[in-house]
């Protein structure tokens, strides 16, 4: 078990970086799709399409472009994490009550100020719940990274399969499950507090 610890950390690290990048890109795309609904339809469609590509195939394609290693895995995770974040950002912004939007306009906020001071803060609970979904998904998908030479908990699971050791598979898979459940629990708790304050 002790030798799994660095791998658990690496697993989390990979996911954390992927989520950070996906959040940055996803929120921007979400805002764009909110501002320009026509372009938004296209963005959401593209993000949904990405989601339908099997993870193995997507990672393999990326490997051809980017080579082996963690970077490729992160790129793959980012692509998968985009949909829930873009979609929830879009939905969250769309859910800001009209009278608040009008109050903001009437007070002389320009579009950026409305976004930064009113619309994004009010959509934050929704965006956060998108991030939560992305985190839980990514923790599971990151296991596939072993096939493109990335680190994390994929390797010990793969070793277990090769050795046909049920015990090894379980000891490596369990941390993934625990992390996913743990993050889901923590983030759901935080989410509740966010929505309660409103």
């Amino acid at each position: 078990m002790t030798n799994l610890f660095p791998l658990i950390l690496e697993h989390m690290y990979i996911v954390a970086i992927a989520i950070a990048i996906a959040t940055a890109i996803g929120v921007v795309l979400g805002v764009i799709s909110f501002w320009y609904p026509r372009l938004g339809t296209f963005i959401l469609f593209a993000a949904e399409m990405l989601q339908t590509i099997p993870s193995l195939a997507l990672l393999a394609l990326l490997m051809i472009l980017l080579g082996l290693g963690n970077t490729t895995l992160i790129a793959g995770l980012v692509l998968y994490a985009l949909l829930p974040i873009v979609r929830n950002t879009n939905t969250g912004l769309g859910g800001v009550p009209d009278h608040l939007r009008e109050a903001a306009r009437g007070m002389g906020m320009n579009r950026m100020q409305r976004l930064a001071l009113v619309e994004l803060p009010l959509s934050f609970p929704m965006i956060f719940s998108g991030i939560k979904i992305a985190v839980v998904n990514s923790l599971a998908i990151a296991v596939m990274g072993v096939l493109i030479g990335a680190g994390g908990l994929g390797y010990p699971i793969y070793r277990g399969i090769q050795m046909r050791s049920f015990e090894r598979i379980i000891t490596a898979a369990l941390p993934v499950v625990i992390m996913a459940v743990g993050f889901d629990y923590l983030m759901t708790g935080f989410e509740r507090r966010l929505t309660k304050r409103k």
Binding site: P97, H99, L100, E102, A103, A104, R105, G106, M107, G108, M109, N110, Q113, L117, V118, P121, L122, R197, K198
Partner: protein
């Protein structure tokens, strides 16, 4: 001074503003009022360009607002909306200092503004500044909404039915406060409402609109004395009467019109059944030509009635009647002097118009004093 010159606005085929021209002087409390759909809110929103006119010119102090930067224009005009519109993610203090911050006032000045404004409505800084809107009552929230609009000392403040969602007592408090603040800070206020009470209480000038046109612009006193048309007269209703002092309150103003009436040919058992269903103990009985015959009470039927007989023979004439055009005062005197529970109000032709009960009398009195009662 705000001026509209021949302003038109349509949505599709629907004309909202029809060649509207009006003028609001500096420091004036101007109330826009009219039936719904008359264009009063559109007029208000044209001033801060939340809506753009199709044609015509709107100027503030002689400057055409369509040539100004909308964002800068709006920062110079306070805006209060009916749904209050405080941002739930910001504290009271942050909400109030939005426009000063947009205008890049230094921090000390923002602090000073928040302190002095909260003082103006007697909400201590220590207690309220760091609360979130959700922690305040509706009335407190709208106070902050008004303060927020005043924060950057705009010479003009627009208010779109700001107190419409508040309970009557809070509404009245806020009306007084707003009036006081307006006088003290010498703001030009453009205020939209559909409530004539509010208009009469607040306005220096009432601008009455109808179908996208300005029908009359006058002081409350002037409008009460000389309403330009029947619609305005009906909007002011009871205020006109009290202002002129000539109106006589008539019996018909105090009656309730839903009365249980039966023909004299009805049978006793049916009457009892009907009374039981409607939970009353007296019925008004009519002759065959619908004129008033008298009343019949459940005790009389029980005591003297025989099953299957018509109630014709049980009618009593002990209930007092009064003509609907008679002075209400007479009705009150009769009702109070006697031990009767009600008076029957008759039309000129002898048919029944309604009843005055002690309850309907009290309700009508209340409405005459305080306006429409909710229940």
């Amino acid at each position: 001074m705000i001026q509209f010159q021949n302003v038109n606005k349509s949505y599709g085929n629907k004309k909202i503003l029809d060649d509207l021209s009006l003028e609001i002087r500096d420091g004036e409390f101007a109330v826009l009022i009219g039936p719904s759909g008359c264009g009063k809110t559109t007029t208000l929103k044209l001033i801060n360009r939340l809506i753009e006119q199709d044609n015509g010119k709107i100027t503030i102090d002689g400057r055409d607002i369509s040539e100004e930067n909308t964002v800068e224009l709006r920062r110079r005009i306070g805006y209060v909306i009916q749904q209050i519109g405080l941002f739930p993610n910001m504290t009271v203090e942050q909400n109030i200092s939005i426009v000063p911050k947009l205008l890049k006032y230094p921090k000390e000045k923002c602090d000073e503004i928040v302190h002095s404004l909260l003082k103006l409505v007697e909400m201590p800084y220590e207690e309220y500044a760091h609360k979130y809107p959700a922690e305040l009552s509706g009335g407190q929230q709208q106070r902050i909404g008004v303060l927020r609009a005043l924060a950057a000392s705009p010479p003009i403040v627009l208010m779109d039915e700001p107190f419409g969602a508040l309970d009557p007592i809070t509404r009245e408090l806020l009306q007084e406060e707003t009036r006081r603040i307006q006088k003290k800070l010498k703001k030009t206020i453009v205020f939209v409402t559909h409530d004539m009470d509010e208009a009469l209480r607040l306005a220096d000038t009432i601008l009455f609109m109808q179908e996208g046109k300005l029908v009359q612009a006058a002081s409350p006193e002037e409008m009460l004395r000389n309403p330009a048309n029947d619609l305005i007269r009906s909007f002011m209703g009871r205020h006109m009467e009290s202002a002129n002092g000539t109106a006589k309150l008539l019996a018909e103003d105090f009656m309730r019109t839903r009365v249980l009436k039966v023909p004299e040919t009805m049978h006793t058992l049916e009457c009892i059944e009907m009374m039981r269903q409607r939970d009353v103990n007296t019925l008004v009985v009519l002759h065959e030509d619908d004129t008033y015959a008298g009343t019949v009470s459940i005790e009389t039927i029980r005591k003297h009635g025989q099953a299957g007989r018509e109630i014709r023979e049980l009618i009593s004439d002990e209930a007092m009647t009064i003509s609907r055009k008679e002075d209400a005062r007479a009705a009150f005197d009769q009702l109070l002097a006697s031990s009767l529970q009600y008076l029957v109000v008759l039309n000129e032709d002898g048919t029944v118009a309604g009843l005055i009960t002690r309850t309907s009398m009290a309700k009508a009195m209340g409405e005459a004093l305080w306006g429409e009662l909710t229940s």
